[in-house]
């Protein structure tokens, strides 16, 4: 038997977590309160250690989403975090959970929204106008050019300026060679305004807005 940890929430929000939520292998998701703790864990008791699989990852995400859908801000824990007992989870939270507690306190009421966009926006070149081009590019040159172009694209995807009034933070990630995810910390009550604002940004005219999610991109204190 192991205690599998999906995510962390503020203990004061625990009553909002739905009692019938299911997690990995159909196990019940419950809230684990630790004595004197400001944060609580979303956990399941499993009969055996889980194997990494797409189904297990989806079950992990569903467990988190069930809490998010009931207005709970959740700091997502990395997949496959298991402990021998509930007490072991509490010991871990006692030793390492202080910063997460501060983060959740600070971000209570926030969710993660994401803009999924095709990576075809070419940022204007901001470096010296005499940037050399290597016409007969071998694989080495091509690789360096790809690195240069990739680093130049990230500012092109930032929406901090357009969405300044609606977002607390932003995190841009290349999810594939041809796709970018722009994650934003948004107050739950601002979600409709956020979606409207994103729709007015020309470079995201073909993008998809998804969420709300647990705090995956912003779960590390200091981000």
């Amino acid at each position: 038997m192991t205690t599998y940890l999906y995510g962390l929430i503020l203990a004061r929000n625990a009553e909002r977590v739905p009692p019938a939520a299911k997690g990995i292998a159909g196990a019940a998701v419950r809230v684990l309160h630790c004595v004197g703790g400001r944060i609580a864990g979303l956990v399941s008791t499993l009969d055996e250690p889980i194997q990494a699989s797409i189904d297990a990852v989806r079950a992990h995400d569903r467990a988190l989403q069930s809490a998010v859908d009931h207005d709970v801000t959740v700091a997502a824990v990395r997949f496959r975090q298991s402990f021998s007992t509930d007490d072991e989870v509490c010991r871990h939270l006692s030793e390492h959970g202080g910063r997460v507690a501060e983060l959740l306190d600070h971000l209570d009421g926030f969710v993660e929204m994401r803009i999924l966009a095709a990576a075809n926006v070419q940022a204007p070149r901001t470096s010296a106008p005499s940037q050399p081009e290597y016409a007969a590019a071998g694989p080495g040159v091509a690789y360096l050019q790809q690195l240069r172009d990739k680093s130049a694209q990230r500012p092109a995807y930032s929406a901090r300026t357009e969405l300044a009034a609606l977002i607390r933070d932003e995190h841009v990630t290349s999810i594939r060679e041809d796709a970018v995810a722009v994650a934003h910390l948004v107050r739950r009550s601002d979600i409709p305004a956020y979606k409207t604002a994103v729709a007015t940004i020309p470079r995201f005219s073909q993008a998809t807005v998804v969420g709300p999610f647990a705090l995956y991109s912003f779960a590390e204190p200091g981000t």
Binding site: S127, G140, V141, Y143, R148, E220
Partner: protein, 105 residues
């Protein structure tokens, strides 16, 4: 030795320092150590990539020098990908916070 040659030497030395043979099933302690080593190598690799791109953009390198630098970096990245697969670590596992410098990725 030019700056580009020095950079290429650093890349080749870094590449040679990575093991050619990898334990198919590293134990837990070995895995943690491997992850630490890979993280450190990744930091150095990213710095070297950044330097190489800047050198390329500076216009002070010949096409041949840029090609050799790029190939060395490409080989290093391929080797890192092999090691990440062997140790079961993802890019996110190696994405450390460098404080004021931001995240590695």
């Amino acid at each position: 030795m030019t700056d580009a040659d020095e950079l290429e030497v650093q890349l080749n030395e870094l590449s040679r320092s990575l093991p050619d043979r990898i334990s198919a099933q590293p134990d837990n302690a070995g895995q943690e150590l491997g992850k630490l080593v890979l993280t450190l190598v990744e930091v150095v690799r990213k710095v070297l990539e950044h330097q190489a791109v800047r050198r390329m953009d500076s216009g002070t390198l010949t096409a041949e020098q840029v090609e050799r630098l790029g190939l060395a970096l490409l080989r290093l990245r391929e080797k890192m990908d092999e090691l990440k697969t062997a140790f079961g670590v993802s890019d996110e596992d190696l994405d450390i916070d460098l404080g004021p410098l931001g995240r590695l990725r």
